[in-house]
Subunit: 593 residues, 2 copies
Amino acid sequence: MPAYKTPLRDLQFVLHEVLDSTTHYAAIGADDASTDMIDAIIIEAGKFCEEVLSPLNSVGDIEGCVYQDGTVTTPTGFPAAYQQWVENGWPSLAQPVEFGGQGLPASIGSVVSELISEANWSWGMYPGLSHGAMNTIEIHGTEEQKATYLTQLVSGAWTGTMCLTEPHCGSDLGTLKAKAELNADGSYAITGTKIFISSGEHDMAENIVHIVLARLPGAPEGTKGLSLFIVPKFLPDQSRNEVRCGAIEHKMGIHGNATCVMNFDGATGFLVGPEHAGLRCMFTFMNFARLGTAMQGVASAELSFQGALTYARERLAMRSLTGAKAPDLAADPIIVHPDVRRMLLTQKAFAEGGRMMLHDAGFMVDRVKQGATEAIRDDANELLSFITPIAKAFLTEVGTEAANHGVQIYGGHGFIREWGMEQIVRDNRISQLYEGTTGIQALDLLGRKVLMTQGDSLKRFTKLIHKLCQEMDGNSELQPLVEQLQAANKEWGDVTLQIGMKAMQNREEVGGAAVDYLMYSGYVMLAYYWLRMAQTAQAALATDTDERDFYLAKISTAQFYFARILPRTLSHKAMMLAGVDSIMALDESHFAF
Amino acid sequence: MPAYKTPLRDLQFVLHEVLDSTTHYAAIGADDASTDMIDAIIIEAGKFCEEVLSPLNSVGDIEGCVYQDGTVTTPTGFPAAYQQWVENGWPSLAQPVEFGGQGLPASIGSVVSELISEANWSWGMYPGLSHGAMNTIEIHGTEEQKATYLTQLVSGAWTGTMCLTEPHCGSDLGTLKAKAELNADGSYAITGTKIFISSGEHDMAENIVHIVLARLPGAPEGTKGLSLFIVPKFLPDQSRNEVRCGAIEHKMGIHGNATCVMNFDGATGFLVGPEHAGLRCMFTFMNFARLGTAMQGVASAELSFQGALTYARERLAMRSLTGAKAPDLAADPIIVHPDVRRMLLTQKAFAEGGRMMLHDAGFMVDRVKQGATEAIRDDANELLSFITPIAKAFLTEVGTEAANHGVQIYGGHGFIREWGMEQIVRDNRISQLYEGTTGIQALDLLGRKVLMTQGDSLKRFTKLIHKLCQEMDGNSELQPLVEQLQAANKEWGDVTLQIGMKAMQNREEVGGAAVDYLMYSGYVMLAYYWLRMAQTAQAALATDTDERDFYLAKISTAQFYFARILPRTLSHKAMMLAGVDSIMALDESHFAF
């Protein structure tokens, strides 16, 4: 596997140039987050990712985790790397000062997350899963719970999990069965089986704090009867709690992360948040968790692009159709071939465009948490809730596509483990499933976010696009792109209206159109981010820059995106508007004979 | 993994009803291939596939092959299954009578291949790879070579391989280095290293016959200096030849098949065919081999569809958007949800449509080999050479898509090994790479087949479509489909012309458009096959049939295909016509900074 390289220059471009980090951090009262400080963090975290985490990526894949009698041994080097990560204080970077954190904005935590995700996604899930637990306890926990658990999670001494899924239910949490019964001391006895618990058991930290969704006696049926509980592996009195790992899954990918079956056998738990409000409490940070998963798609695209680019420059095969480009060699490097370039540019457009989208979302998270006025916070929150399902589903879908292009560029070698390209496909595949499948995200977007707000949430975003296009109108070089985006933006509203009308006649139309609608939305949204990047690059080129090639590459990639990727909206539009009849016609018993 | 079920009824529909097998076999002088006989073969071979091969599919994946000191041990049960297969005479089914075969037409061999491919692709590659060796020796071998090798290959006592790829070259065979030097006895000493040799070493048969591409001393450079050699593992005098397996690859999938590094260390080889004509000799059956790989895509779609359909009927999650469909259960089976149906129908459309396409191609192979007149043979050959790159690349691409839908329908469980769905994704991924990548097939289609014949090969196929549409014109129920296909057919010619014009200005346009052109062509071609199936189904419905549901399902699936899949051509058209400029603009050194 080619060595991972921190995309420093690209992150600087996104954060400082396109998103104007200085103004942003000043506006949220985080003036200490200077350009220099951010760069230093990227360089330092990147060094760890390149030198420590990246080499462990294939180790984790090959060794996997080992389960024995309730314990899980993580791959060689994983615990030591985690120890080093904790000792250097990284877990507390963007956590509240009052619980031992360094108090930097969430967006800076996201930048560091990107690097970890690219270097070693499986390893990153051990510290990563703590975020759900930290957020739950920070927002809904008592002061005592914060003192007991949050400080240890912030330092990284302990890690956390989220225990939702059960064998019979994943997307449909309303039917979950784990139960919680009040003990005499005010704690609860938690009983049930949870599956697919990432980082549920491991040997990397001294304690694991499970946040468990369970049902109190007499609770309402469905999702309105669920409550949240803190269930630590070791109780505050150091005794071993009755929560044990019963098995780990054998999976397609992310072998380095333990996916656990967790058995709660009257385990002691502590209610967090109000009774029966478990799902609502979880929704308060669901957006952030989903953006974290979206990052896996971007990371996969970036890592696969890095590997494929190296190979495409070195591997020799055939001559360019327009004559030898490397006549001294036995054949031309395959990067001369248009189809190889098409695949590389597709990876590049998804990696860099996705990065742009996610760090813009990261800045929105900052504004939700620290915006100066309620109006700013609300606006950011509304925008974020619209972007989230698109980012999660679209970026993980195109992440898998990009990873597959990486395999394809390697030819037969792409299928072989030692090159590392096929691992990215296998690892990324889960991102389209967990934290809500693509189908679930699509229903959330079209049903809940767009149609239930009568299109208001969509308009909030299309206004941004409209504003950009107006700003850039008359820009001779980028004018074709501006016009293409303007047309797509108008069409986005039009197709939404059409589906809304259909849905009034037949609610199934929402389900039938949802995934095409989401992908359509993703391609338009990414076009917006590529045009913003082109705009920034163009402005830089008008100055006396010595980085002309860098900025020209941005414009060139934007042009590629508009010419060769954005037209995918044509098919998605036609398919979603074709309606649901042909999908619903066939009787369930007639699918096969 | 759900048990594999032979798609008997569907094969009967394709072979007997749509393709009119009785007329076909009579026309090629194979009157003994009656409907009853074909059905009996499908049932008998299907029973073996269901009972013996299918249970070994996950065994092969989990155990893989084991390499030690030059030997390869295949997974538990693989050799015994092969023994049983040979004892029952299956290898000789469609081989020439004069070499011990049963002399049935090639198309019947393809039908049996489909079943094996669906039940256990990795296992099927051991007998499957013999076909290349058999074809080579049958067409180009001396009588002595046929007597020595072909009879043993036909019976299945021995298996074969094709040794082409070397570490530095796969697609670009012109640069290969293996050398062949004349020995005093007229044999040759073969020296070199071949990689990615499927079934190169194993414990299933007593001898392995390698067909090796190598270069004679003083041979011309490039592909015109390659010759073919027979290099058996054991020589006719029983002595062990100096061809040995040096290692096996660790791969993303097809773990049950040994992918070998083969070292030839002065191994004794026998020239087959003329000197320096190796590549030309191989091209004589390249089409058949590529159709065999196309089968993997169809098989993956079918197997994944079977698994996903079972799960979608059983798994409960949420309620239908239009109210509970199974009010007595805790939730509705997920097959009620439009997006699940969309994915299932997509799998079904690819599996059944791909089956139709491939068995039509199988009948063309029969006509190439046994057509009554030269005109018939030539026409079939031309058609086949046009269809082959489309079938190979398009069907394997959509096979991977279908397999991924299967994973997606299972949600998180799809990522877990025990359900068997992720294995199909991993196994099928190689089909887009070997026997010529998708990119190579696309260049073959657009460059060699279409543009180099001035569009003649395309016209041969669009005429078939035109004829079908004329036949069906005025068909009130299917008229919208007929018109949609008619329009697509005309557009296919138009876009070809436009790309041809562009290519005259800039040859890179061919490479830049090729993959989009191939996928575009695949979707139109599949629409043709779905309309043919709808036509046949409609005719059956006009009779007093007691299988109304079966035929209605065909029409319903055709309608789904036209509404929800065929519109993918819109994007491919726009992207290929957008041209190559945005692909070629970026300097190689500016892809990353």
